[in-house]
């Protein structure tokens, strides 16, 4: 696999709050992607949490951005439905029709960057419809199932744009510290 065009700045980012059930889809997808795929070092892989307008600095002068996020369902879409939104979908959606759960942060940040002349040339949202975003709940099964498909979709989107992205033979360890039972031990009081 080789890059035909000159290397550009690419960001794969996850949005969402890991403490709020399926709202944590974005960060989960980012950790799975990091674990399963190996990318060109020019690809930044970032769990950005819920930055609101603080998103702008992370997309500043980046060429291609792939955002993994929980999204609002369109029409009859059920929990776990995977959708890929491109620039046109994002631009055409007015204030009433939010694409991701973390608007207005996404739309406003992109609009500011556009006006300042530092916006990404391409933005893609890989979105999953959440089932439940309750406090302290884990990811629901429907969203967990879709997460693997979403991760492969991110890889495909990069490869289609001639960006190096290979599935690892041996996945590296995921750091899913927020899922109960997976956090560290050893404070001297373990039972």
């Amino acid at each position: 696999m080789s890059t035909e065009r000159p290397l550009r700045r690419i960001a794969v980012v996850g949005l969402g709050n890991v403490l709020l059930g399926d709202d944590g889809f974005g960060p989960l997808a980012i950790e799975m992607f990091r674990s399963l795929y190996e990318c060109d070092p020019k690809v930044e892989i970032l769990d950005l949490g819920t930055p609101g307008l603080d998103l702008a600095p992370y997309l500043y002068d980046v060429d291609l951005v792939v955002i993994a996020d929980a999204v609002h369902p369109r029409e009859e879409e059920g929990p776990g439905t995977l959708s890929v939104y491109r620039d046109d979908d994002l631009v055409s959606s007015q204030a009433q029709l939010r694409v991701t759960s973390h608007d207005p942060g996404v739309q406003e940040s992109l609009a500011q960057l556009r006006l300042a002349g530092h916006a990404p040339s391409e933005v893609i949202v890989v979105g999953v419809v959440p089932e439940s975003c309750g406090l302290g709940k884990g990811i629901s099964l429907s969203v967990l199932d879709t997460c693997l498909v979403a991760v492969d979709t991110i890889a495909r989107l990069l490869v289609e744009r001639s960006i190096e992205c290979r599935r690892r033979h041996d996945p590296i360890q995921r750091n899913l510290w927020w899922r109960s039972g997976e956090h560290g031990r050893g404070n001297g009081f373990d039972s």
């Binding site: 930055p51 609101g52 009433q96 939010r98 560290g184 001297g188 009081f189």
Partner: protein, 570 residues
Amino acid sequence: MARISIDPVTRIEGHLRIDVEVDGGKVQKAWASCTMWRGLETILRGRDAREGWVFAQRFCGVCTTVHAIASVRAVEDALQLEIPANAQYIRNLILIAHALHDHIIHFYQLSSLDWVDIATIPKADPARAASIAEGYSNWPGNSRRELEAVQSKVKGMVDSGQLGIFSHGYWGHPAMRLSPELNLILFAHYLQALEFQRKACQIVGVLGGKTPHIQNLAVGGVMNAINLNSLATFNMDRLGMLQSLLQDLIPFVQQAYFVDACLLSASYPEWFRYGRGVANYFAVPDLPTDANATRFDLPGGLIMKGELTSVQPIQNWRDQSFRSSVAEDVTHAWYKGEGAQTPWKGETDPDYTDFQADKKYTWVKAPRYNGQPIQVGPLANVLVGYASGHPLTRKWTDTAFKTISSVHEAGTAAFHLTPEALQSTMGRYLARAIRSAMLSDLALQHWQLLTDNILKGDDTTFNPPQFPSHECEGVGMHEAPRGALSHWVIVDKGAFTNYQAVVPTTWNASPRDEKGVPGPYETSLIANPVVDPIKPLEVLRTVHSFDPCMACACHTFDSSGRAIARVKVL
């Protein structure tokens, strides 16, 4: 009498609803309501006390770092654990960079368009705008060419009728009073601000290993390995990189942002008469300059009833009167029970009743200090510093006053400010800019402290914590961008048995207490003018002056993706 309900008010995290009763063009009564449930702390109960900060920094997507810091400081306080000087300096530099980022974004992206009417920018004369701007500052981004480029972008946007994200603004509102030239200058800096937010994030990233969620903290210090002879660790290259990022960032803060806040102050002098609100203030000491945190570069203190001469210092984080004076009242909040309790015993047991103005109407508890409501934030920080004779606070406050009195663009007489007059809506904006200018100076000082200490041969960054087998309690304080933050923890055998975060927005967005005394947002809105109840721009100016961020004051998830603001005139 018109009753106006604005929901939501914030453009970032969480939900804030403001209800006001307007009569004779003025607000008579106000209620601040947070419309989402709080309860993030329950997640921390039972967790390993060394890991609390990792969870706490997910309370809010915007104030990540501040909760991480308050959490490790709370556990260190419970253990009475001293941390190495290097760890203090590295943490301080992270906190300063985060605060500068936060203050810049508040001024430009979150609130400047309450004062700046972009629809007039096509009418501006860029040459005149450049000469005005250059008269107050030597910021390179004020050139005529730069301002012409910004004007043509705005023209394109206005001509196409596609205002996009700006379509919600109150353009042409009678309360908008800047000249087209000043509007152009401020909006040019609005766009330039994005680059400097990026620089601030890079500083946090270099020190914290990752941003927005830093990775380098530990109860007991920081995990940055310092070795001047190794390429892989914190070394002179990193220090050099930090210094150069700071040298890029600071001129924007001191020559663009600070000056813009002065220009805005001089152009809207009447806004120093509105929005005073609760005139009790406190700031907690921060930016320690020694390992065991006995000396601080930002002083802490308490001011009651707006009397600066009455300032009482809060000397350090172990201040006993602070610990015994803070209580949270749930009389008007959607929790079971009534009255007030120390955060160490705080419960978070929901009891939702719908919005009932005379009973329970918000998810925010009412924190009180010796029974009194308190206003926190950069204004408290600056007033406490000024009143205690802190040289750096005096230097930048006096510089601001001098700059403001030299402004004559508004066509009004020279405007002379006093520290007492800062207690107002515009005072909160100006104080935030004064604080940012101070923090910029302090960033270089703490970079120097760190560098000197490392060159002296000290490479320690971590003292391992020892957890006793009995229960212990601690408070972690931080003077965060929105004001005094405290995390209150009880640790037993290395795990949390209780965790309460008393956050700045809880102090400021506080509802009425059991005596019916309203909180700072509510009080500050009284007598605020409202020219047009359909477009209550003036209410937003006062509320935005506090930099409201409800995510950590309450629960955060916005599942409905509502429009930016819905104004209902009842």
